[in-house]
C-alpha cells in the first residue's frame, strides 16, 4: 500500500468538498478498494471516509418504500430491512460476517461489480439511487461492468426500494469467492414482475425482459419453461461457461418464482 491522506468528515457537504482534490477517492466499507490498494493496484492520494456521516447510515420504511442509507453495512440491512424480506435475505448472504459488517450498500452499487448481489436487487426493484446531487432510476444507473451513471465525486447517500408484493433472490455461489456465479432477483409488483440477473453477463447486471413479460402474465415457474436464454453475452471463465451461466439464469429464475409462492 502506498501512503495516502485520510479524512473522515461528518457531513455529506464536507465529504463532497474533500473529494474535489485530485486523486481523492471515497471510502465506504472498503471491501474492494482496500484490497486493491494493498496490492498496489490503486493509489489514491486521499481517502474520504463516508462512514462517519450519521445521515448515511440506517434503514427506514414508510409508504411502501424502504430507504437504506448509502453507508449502511450489509449486516444492518440483513437485520433491519424486515419490511423487504428478500432484500434482507440478500444482504445476509453477502460474503462472510466480516464483509457484512464493513461493506456497504453504497459501496457495492458504486463499484457495480458484475458479480455483486445488490445491483440485482436495485434493478429488479426499480429502486432509486439517491446521491448528493440527484436521484437516478436504477434502469438508468447501471451502465455495464464496473460502470454507473455516477459522476466524479458524486456520493450515493441512499437507495429507495419500492416494496414488492413478493420477491426472492436466488444466489448461486462461485465456489471460491462466493460472489454470485449467477444471481437472479425476482420482484412482483402490482404493475408487473421485474427480473434482474447478476454475475452472468459481460455487460453487468441486466433485466431479463422476456421472463418479466411471461411472469407478469402468469407468475408461476412454468411460465418461463419455454424461454431460452442466449449465451452470446454471458461471462465464460474458470468457474463456468457462457452456456452454463445461461442455464443458471433460467433455473434460478424458476426457483425464485417458486420461492415467492
Amino acid at each position: 500500500m502506498y501512503n495516502f491522506e485520510f479524512v473522515k468528515p461528518s457531513s455529506v457537504d464536507e465529504a463532497v468538498a474533500a473529494l474535489r482534490d485530485e486523486d481523492a477517492q471515497p471510502l465506504s466499507g472498503g471491501q474492494t478498494l482496500i484490497p486493491t490498494m494493498k496490492q498496489r493496484l490503486n493509489q489514491p492520494s486521499k481517502l474520504v471516509s463516508l462512514t462517519g456521516i450519521a445521515d448515511l447510515v440506517g434503514v427506514s420504511s414508510s409508504g411502501g418504500v424502504l430507504s437504506v442509507g448509502g453507508a449502511t453495512p450489509h449486516a444492518t440491512v440483513a437485520a433491519e430491512a424486515g419490511d423487504y424480506p428478500a432484500l434482507a435475505a440478500l444482504a445476509g448472504q453477502i460474503g462472510d460476517p466480516a464483509v457484512r459488517n464493513r461493506g456497504t450498500i453504497g459501496g457495492s452499487l458504486a463499484n457495480n461489480d458484475p458479480a455483486a448481489c445488490y445491483p440485482s436487487a436495485a434493478l429488479a426493484s426499480g429502486a432509486t439511487i439517491v446521491t448528493n446531487a440527484r436521484e437516478i432510476a436504477a434502469d438508468d444507473y447501471f451502465q455495464g461492468m464496473f460502470t454507473t451513471a455516477l459522476d466524479e465525486g458524486e456520493i450515493i447517500t441512499g437507495v429507495k426500494f419500492p416494496i414488492p408484493q413478493a420477491a426472492n433472490y436466488q444466489k448461486f455461489e462461485q465456489p471460491a469467492s462466493r460472489f454470485a456465479l449467477t444471481g437472479v432477483f425476482v420482484a412482483k409488483y402490482a404493475d408487473g414482475v421485474r427480473v434482474a440477473v447478476t454475475g452472468a453477463s459481460n455487460d453487468g447486471v441486466f433485466r431479463w425482459t422476456e421472463a418479466e413479460e411471461a411472469l407478469s402474465a402468469n407468475f408461476s415457474p412454468n411460465a418461463i419453461s419455454g424461454l431460452t436464454v442466449a449465451s452470446d453475452d454471458m461471462i465464460s471463465d474458470l468457474h463456468g461457461s457462457a452456456a452454463y451461466r445461461a442455464n443458471l439464469v433460467k433455473v434460478l429464475t424458476g426457483r425464485a418464482v417458486a420461492a415467492c409462492a
Binding site: 465456489p175 471460491a176 469467492s177 474458470l238 468457474h239 463456468g240 433455473v251
Partner: protein
C-alpha cells in the same frame, strides 16, 4: 497403569499455546537490526532477460542492496534430491535451478531480483524502480505439446522438455501387452489429476542471520525438515559446513508437503544476511505463495485394465504425463515414479503391470509432493478405472473389488511393481465400511432424494499406500540422494522426567502429545513426565523430518529403540540398588522389582542414582541416563482402507452436495485414536477439496488464473460432511517395534476416487450416461457432463 499411555486420547497439549496465541512461528521472530527483502517476481511465464537496471532502485531510501543473479555467481543452484533413471538406463535431464533467474524467466513468480531494505515498504518502493528489458517467448504449458518435436524449450541447454521417460517394470512390458491381447474385456480411462496449491494456513517465512564473531549462519524457516534444509543448503548451495549452520523450524502452521523442499528464499536470506552483516527477513504474502510454493499433482494419465472371462484382473498398464514445472523441486522426480508406479497394484492381485511416466518441463511453478504424493495419483487412476470396469460389466463395484483383492492369507505379498506388502486385510475394511455406511439402505435413501428432485449416488474406493518412508538402502538404489532413517535422543533427568530430542518435526501432527504416550507406556510413568523437543538442528540429532506418514513409524521407532536402551541401562542400575541379578529385574508401572520377591525400587530412585552415583556400579557402567538411536526401517508400511461416500446432485445446476463419508482404515496399532481420527478428517477434507473445488489453472500464456482465493476454491467447513471414522481393522506392521503404519495421508489418498465414483453413480443411475468427469467436479463441469 500410566496415565495417557498407548491407546488413550489425551487432548493435544500443543493446542494450549496455539489456541491462546502463544505459538512461536517464524514470522514471530524478529532480530535486532533486521532488514526486509522484497522479491521482484516475474509476471510473464517465459522470457529472455536482456538487461536488469537496478541503479535507480539502489539509490532509493532505506535500500541496503539490490540483488540479481550476478550476486549469486559463486553460489550453487537448488539441488534435486532424487535422480530417476529412464527406461533406457539414462539419468533424467536435470537443469540448473538458480536462486535468482539467470538470463531467462521460466515461470510466473520466479525471482528476478531482490531488494533488501530497512522496511518492507521501502523495499517494495525500490522494486518498482528496477528496469527490466525482456523479450517474451512462447509459453510451454500443455505437457503433450511440450514433448512434441520442435516445441519451444523451457531449458535451452537440455535436449527437449522431457525430463525422463520411465518404464516400470520395463522387462514386463511385453508380457503385459500380450495379456491385453488375450483379455476378454479391457477397460480404458483417460483422466487428469488436477494441479493443486497446498495452501497451509501459515505462508512460508525465512529469517537469515549471520554471526561474524564465529562465522556462523542461522536460518529460521517454515520447514518440515530442518536438518534436510541444513544439509541441502549448506553442502550444495552456499557451501557452509554443518557445524557453522543452524536451521530452526519453530512452530509451523501446516506443511502438507510443500514445506519439505529447499526453496530459493531460504538460501537467499541466509546468503544476504552474511553479505550485508544484518539479519534479513522474508514473509510470503498469500499471493506470492500461490506462485512460489511448489504445487502438487498435475498428472494426465491413461489407464487400462484387462480382465479374463471370470472378471479377474489379468493385467494393467498406464501412461502418465507428469508436470515437473519449470525446475526440479527437491523431491519432484520421485513423486510420479517410485511413489506412484510402485502403488499401481493397489489392493489387487493383478499379476502383470506396466507403468510409463513421462516427466515434462513446462513454464509453470515447480510441482512436488503434496499430501499423499504419487499415491493419490495411483489410487485415483486405479479406483476410477475399476469403477468404470464394474459399470461396463454390469457387476457390483464392491464385489468386483472383493473378487480381485489380495487375500488375507496371502501376506506377505510381493506385487509385480517391486514392493512387498507385509500385512493387510482388505476384505475386513471393505466389510466394515459397507456396514458403517449402511449400503444396504442406500436404495431407500436414493428414492427419498429423488422425491426431493435430487440425484443420489454412492461411491466406493479402496486404497493402499506406502508410508513410513523409507528404507535407506532401497531408496538409495532407486535414486534417492539421501538416507531416510530417523533419530531420537532420550534424555532422562535426575528426578525422572524425560526430554526427547527427535528428528521428526511436528507441524500439526501432534507429536508433542503422541510421542510421550509411547514412552509413558514403555516405562509406566505418566505422559506428563515426558517433553518433546524438535525443530532445531542445534539441539536435536540429525533427522530427516516429517512427510510420507513417517513420524511415528520411523521417528517413533527411533524413540522406542532409544528408550529400550534407557530401560536396559536403568535395569542394570536397579539390579545394583536391589542387589539382584539384572536378569531378574522387571519394570512395571514405573517400579523396578526383583521377580518373585517384594523388593522394588522406583523409577525416580534409579534415575537419581544415575546422576548422583554414590552407590553405583561405576566400574561397569557410566553415570547418566541418555541414549540416542537411529532407526532405519526394513520396509515401507502399507496402510490401507475402504472409503464410501454418498452425494446428491442438483440436476438443474450440477451442484454436488457430499452427504456423508465413511472411512474404514487399517493403520495397524493406534497410539492416540483422537489424533488419528483428526488426521483422517483433515485428509478427507483435502480430498474433498481436490475432488470438488480446488483447481490450479494456467492459461496458454502461462498466467496463473487461480492466483488468489477469489478463484482458487478451498474447502470450507460447510463443504465437509460428518465423517464416520473407524480403525478397528488392525493388521499391525510386522517390521517396526510399534506395529504402526502411519495415518497422515490416507484421507487425501482414498477420498477423491470415492467422491468422483459417487457423482458418476448418481448420474448413471438417473439416466445420464457419463463415463468420467475430471476433477474438480465443479457445478459447471457436472452440468456440462449431463448436458453434452
Amino acid at each position: 497403569m500410566p496415565k495417557d499411555g498407548i491407546g488413550a486420547s489425551p487432548k493435544r497439549r500443543e493446542d494450549v499455546r496455539f489456541l491462546t496465541g502463544k505459538g512461536r512461528y517464524t514470522d514471530d521472530i524478529n532480530l535486532n537490526g533486521q532488514l526486509y527483502v522484497h522479491f521482484l517476481r516475474a509476471d510473464v511465464a517465459h522470457a529472455t532477460i536482456n538487461s536488469i537496471d537496478t541503479s535507480a532502485a539502489e539509490g532509493m531510501p532505506g535500500v541496503a542492496h539490490v540483488f540479481t543473479s550476478k550476486d549469486f555467481e559463486a553460489v550453487g543452484g537448488l539441488p534435486c534430491g532424487w535422480q530417476v533413471t529412464d527406461k533406457h538406463g539414462q539419468p533424467m535431464q536435470e537443469p540448473k535451478h538458480p536462486i535468482i533467474a539467470e538470463g531467462k524467466i521460466r515461470h510466473v513468480g520466479e525471482i528476478v531480483a531482490a531488494v533488501v531494505a530497512d522496511t518492507l515498504g521501502n523495499a517494495r518502493d525500490a522494486a518498482e524502480a528496477i528496469e527490466l528489458d525482456l523479450t517474451e517467448l512462447p509459453a510451454v504449458i500443455d505437457m503433450k505439446k511440450a514433448v512434441q518435436d520442435g516445441a519451444t524449450k523451457v531449458h535451452d541447454d537440455l535436449t527437449s522438455n522431457l525430463c525422463y521417460d520411465w518404464g516400470f517394470v520395463e522387462e514386463n512390458k511385453a508380457a503385459v501387452d500380450e495379456a491385453f491381447e488375450k483379455a476378454s474385456h479391457v477397460t480404458t480411462l483417460e483422466l487428469v489429476n488436477n494441479r493443486l496449491v497446498a495452501n497451509p494456513m501459515e505462508p512460508r517465512v525465512a529469517v537469515g542471520d549471520y554471526a561474524q564473531h564465529d562465522d556462523s549462519s542461522t536460518l529460521y524457516t517454515t520447514s518440515q525438515n530442518p536438518h534436510v534444509i541444513r544439509l541441502l543448503m549448506g553442502a550444495f548451495v552456499l557451501g557452509i559446513p554443518e557445524h557453522k549452520l543452524r536451521v530452526v523450524a519453530p512452530d509451523v502452521g501446516g506443511g502438507f508437503g510443500t514445506k519439505i523442499f529447499h526453496y530459493a528464499e531460504e538460501a537467499f536470506c541466509t546468503f544476504a544476511a552474511k553479505q550485508l552483516r544484518r539479519p534479513v527477513k522474508w514473509t510470503s504474502s498469500r499471493s506470492e505463495a500461490f506462485m512460489s510454493d511448489a504445487h502438487g499433482r498435475d498428472h494426465v494419465s491413461k489407464i487400462q485394465i484387462a480382465l479374463d472371462a471370470d472378471n479377474n484382473f489379468t493385467a494393467l498398464r498406464t501412461e502418465t504425463y507428469a508436470n515437473m514445472g519449470a525446475y526440479l523441486s527437491t523431491f519432484a522426480p520421485s513423486v510420479p515414479t517410485w511413489l506412484h508406479g510402485t502403488l499401481m497394484a493397489g489392493n489387487y492381485r493383478t499379476p502383470l503391470i506396466y507403468v510409463n511416466v513421462k516427466a515434462v518441463f513446462t513454464n509453470t511453478v515447480p510441482v512436488d509432493a503434496y499430501r499423499g504424493a504419487g499415491r493419490p495419483e495411483a489410487t485415483y487412476q486405479l479406483e476410477r478405472c475399476v469403477d468404470k470396469c464394474a459399470r461396463e460389466l454390469g457387476v457390483d463395484p464392491a464385489e468386483l473389488r472383493r473378487q480381485n483383492f489380495i487375500k488375507p492369507d496371502q501376506f506377505p505379498y510381493a506385487t509385480p511393481v517391486a514392493v512387498e506388502y507385509d500385512t493387510g486385510n482388505y476384505h475386513a475394511t471393505l466389510d466394515k465400511a459397507l456396514e458403517l455406511a449402511d449400503v444396504a439402505g442406500f436404495d431407500a435413501r436414493a428414492a427419498e432424494s429423488k422425491a426431493r428432485g435430487k440425484l443420489r449416488g454412492l461411491g466406493i474406493s479402496n486404497y493402499i499406500e506406502a508410508c513410513g518412508i523409507a528404507p535407506s538402502n532401497l531408496v538409495g538404489q532407486l535414486g534417492a540422494r539421501a538416507g531416510l532413517y530417523e533419530s531420537a535422543t532420550v534424555r532422562v533427568n535426575a528426578t525422572g522426567g524425560i526430554v526427547v530430542m527427535t528428528g521428526s518435526h511436528s507441524h500439526g501432527q501432534g507429536h508433542e502429545t503422541t510421542f510421550p504416550q509411547v514412552i509413558a507406556d514403555m516405562i509406566g510413568i505418566d505422559a506428563s513426565q515426558v517433553e518433546i523437543v524438535h525443530g532445531d538442528t542445534a539441539n536435536t540429532p540429525m533427522g530427516m523430518g516429517t512427510y510420507g506418514s513417517r513420524s511415528l513409524a520411523v521417528g517413533g521407532s527411533a524413540m522406542f529403540r532409544a528408550t529400550e536402551k534407557i530401560i536396559n541401562k536403568a535395569k542394570k542400575i536397579a539390579a545394583h540398588l536391589l542387589e539382584a541379578s539384572e536378569t531378574d529385574i522387571e519394570l512395571k508401572d514405573g517400579q523396578f522389582s526383583v521377580s518373585g520377591t517384594d523388593k522394588s525400587v522406583a523409577w525416580g530412585d534409579v534415575t537419581l542414582a544415575a546422576y548422583v552415583p554414590h552407590n553405583y556400579p561405576l566400574d561397569s557402567i557410566e553415570p547418566g541416563l541418555e541414549e540416542t538411536a537411529f532407526y532405519d526401517p526394513a520396509n515401507f508400511t502399507y496402510p490401507s482402507g475402504t472409503y464410501i461416500c454418498e452425494v446428491e446432485v442438483d440436476e438443474g445446476t450440477g451442484k454436488v452436495d457430499v452427504l456423508n463419508f465413511t472411512a474404514a482404515d487399517d493403520f495397524g496399532n493406534v497410539v492416540n485414536p483422537m489424533i488419528v481420527e483428526g488426521q483422517v478428517h483433515g485428509g478427507v477434507g483435502q480430498g474433498i477439496g481436490q475432488a470438488m473445488l480446488e483447481n490450479c489453472a494456467y492459461d496458454e500464456d502461462g498466467q496463473l488464473l487461480s492466483a488468489s482465493y477469489m478463484d482458487y476454491a478451498m474447502p470450507r467447513a460447510s463443504d465437509i460432511p460428518m465423517i464416520t471414522v473407524d480403525h478397528s481393522c488392525q493388521t499391525p506392521c510386522t517390521h517396526n517395534p510399534l506395529g504402526v503404519k502411519g495415518c497422515g495421508e490416507a484421507g487425501a489418498i482414498g477420498s477423491p476416487p470415492a467422491l468422483v465414483n459417487a457423482v458418476l453413480d448418481a448420474l448413471n443411475r438417473n439416466g445420464h450416461a457419463v463415463d468420467h468427469i475430471d476433477m474438480p467436479l465443479s457445478p459447471s463441469r457436472v452440468w456440462s457432463a449431463m448436458n453434452s
